[in-house]
Structure formats: structure tokens, C-alpha cells
């Protein structure tokens, strides 16, 4: 399986995402000015501060040349994972529902978090059990998941709420404790915590690896 990790000016977690993906497949960097996705099987939109997060986090990156190709790729059923700033970019691009607003605590916060796997049967969580707890760090200033109430109901009914913050873990004030959502088709997933920073026991948890393993598993199923 080949992963392509986007790099925007201001990205800062693309190297870790590449290293994490390389544990389950091949991974290369895709430059924001390039439209060619080089035939990758999955795209990772990494964390950071793309284009300085000017205007709103993700607002400018969403119109970059590479994102035009990623939008086509996603609409064609390709797997796309957005982490932190990548989640914000995917929401701005309309590939995921909702928006990420400034944290309710008004602070840039860095914490190791317990997350509940709400949906264990998605392309991004199939290596997990439903209800399982994942320990993954988060570090952001605008991670408060927001969608209008009616949209939240629809997302829950459709099983698109994939990850939730466990009790006492929702520091950013996300509505309904939502930490990660997928699109209706299930091929695009975004989350605020950073699974790529939790793949080696050296840094305390390897739970993040499950997200990448799930994607590799899903690709094998898709190609079988």
C-alpha cells in the first residue's frame, strides 16, 4: 500500500505521518503545488499550520493545486486521512461535515488523551474493537468540533462519529465530545488527535498505529 503525505508551507507533522505510514506500507511526500498524486492508494493531510492558518485554519490550503486532485481522488472513493490541521482542511474543502472552532479553553493545549472508538468497522478503525480506548496525543488551538444540531443528529444516526473524547478528556469543547468524523461514503476521515505521534513505545503509546493498520487492512480488502 502506498501513502502520499501532503506538505504545505507551514505543515509540521508530515515527517511523523510519513514515518507512521511507512510502518504499514510505503509513504512519500506530495508537494502542495503538484497536482499529480503519483498513483498513491491513500492520501494523508497532515498537521501543522498550512499557509500560516491565515483567515481560518485550513481555509487557504483547501484551494492549493494538490487539494484539487485530492478532492477528485476522494470523490472517486480514494482513502483520505486528515489529522489536526488536515481535518480542518478537509472540513474547509467540504469533504467532511462541520467545522473546527477555537478551543473553548482559549489555549493552545497539548495533552495525551483517551479516545473511545465509537465505530470499529470503518476503513480507518477496522483494526480496533468498538468501544475500545485509544491513548493518542492532541495539540491544537482550534479543535472544537462544531456542526449544527440537526447535522450532529444525522452524523450520529449515520454512524459517522468515529471517535469521541472519553469523559474529562474533551478540553477543546467539541460538541458531543466528537474527536473524529468520517464522510457519508466512509472513505474520508478526520480527527484532531495525532495518531502519527503514537506509533512507538518510546513515546508512551502505540495506539495511533491502529489507524494506519486499519487503512492498510482496508486497502487489502478493497483490492481483494
Amino acid at each position: 500500500m502506498r501513502f502520499g503525505v501532503l506538505r504545505f508551507p507551514g505543515s509540521c507533522d508530515e515527517a511523523d505521518a510519513q514515518l507512521a505510514a511507512a510502518r504499514v506500507g510505503e509513504a512519500s511526500i506530495l508537494w502542495h503545488q503538484d497536482r499529480d498524486l503519483q498513483g498513491v492508494d491513500a492520501v494523508i493531510v497532515p498537521g501543522g499550520f498550512s499557509y500560516g492558518d491565515y483567515l481560518r485554519a485550513g481555509a487557504i490550503a483547501r484551494f492549493s493545486p494538490v487539494m484539487e486532485s485530492v478532492i477528485d481522488f476522494a470523490r472517486g472513493g480514494g482513502f483520505v486521512l486528515g489529522i489536526c490541521n488536515g481535518f480542518q482542511v478537509l472540513c474547509e474543502a467540504g469533504l467532511l461535515p462541520g467545522a473546527l472552532l477555537p478551543n473553548a479553553n482559549r489555549r493552545f493545549t497539548f495533552r495525551q488523551l483517551d479516545l473511545e472508538v465509537v465505530q470499529g468497522d470503518t476503513a480507518f478503525t477496522r483494526a480496533c474493537e468498538p468501544g475500545e480506548t485509544l491513548s493518542i496525543p492532541a495539540k491544537h488551538e482550534s479543535g472544537r468540533y462544531y456542526a449544527p444540531e440537526a447535522m450532529l443528529d444525522e452524523l450520529e444516526d449515520a454512524g459517522q462519529v468515529v471517535l469521541r473524547y472519553k469523559p474529562e478528556q474533551n478540553f477543546n469543547g467539541s460538541l458531543r465530545d466528537i474527536a473524529g468524523v468520517c464522510n457519508e461514503a466512509g472513505n474520508v476521515f478526520g480527527l484532531m488527535p495525532h495518531p502519527e505521534h503514537a506509533v512507538d513505545a518510546l513515546t508512551g503509546s502505540t495506539d495511533g498505529l491502529r489507524i494506519f493498520e486499519s487503512m492498510a487492512l482496508s486497502m487489502r480488502v478493497a483490492h481483494a
Partner: protein, 81 residues
């Protein structure tokens, strides 16, 4: 044409910046301040003012969480000191 776009958080959406400012003002001795909201101001010269609404919807504001208001000002002021 000079235009000014005002972008505000939608009513009812938590506005942490507004809260921070509202809490800071009494600390400086200003009392009686409430309902503070912090938004964004974008000023621009445009050749086709009819496109402003689309610019707002696509980039300058996120219509899911923000309201915007377009004000058309006097002629271009580009180059003004």
C-alpha cells in the same frame, strides 16, 4: 471599488475571543460591558463588486459558522497613504 467585509461568529456559537475580551475589560476598570464578539475585517479593492458575495462564501467567511456583511465604500483608495 473599495469594499469592506465584516465577518462575525454566528449568533449562539461560543466565541472564546469575545469572552476573553469581555473578561479583560472589567479588569481594566471598564464596567457595564456585555455581549462582546470578536470578528474579522477584510478590506479590498474589487473590479467586479458583484463577485463579493461569492468571494465571501468561498473564502472570506465560512458560512457554516460565520455571518458576513459586505459594505461598498467610495472609489478605490489603492495607493493612498
Amino acid at each position: 471599488m473599495r469594499a469592506r467585509v465584516l465577518v462575525r461568529p454566528k449568533a449562539g456559537i461560543l466565541d472564546p475571543q469575545g469572552i476573553a475580551v469581555e473578561q479583560a475589560l472589567p479588569a481594566l476598570g471598564f464596567s457595564g460591558v456585555s455581549h462582546v464578539h470578536v470578528g474579522r475585517l477584510v478590506e479590498l479593492d474589487v473590479e467586479v463588486p458583484a463577485q463579493l458575495d461569492e468571494m465571501c462564501r468561498k473564502l472570506l467567511a465560512n458560512p457554516l459558522v460565520e455571518d458576513y456583511e459586505v459594505q461598498l465604500l467610495e472609489g478605490p483608495v489603492a495607493g493612498a497613504p
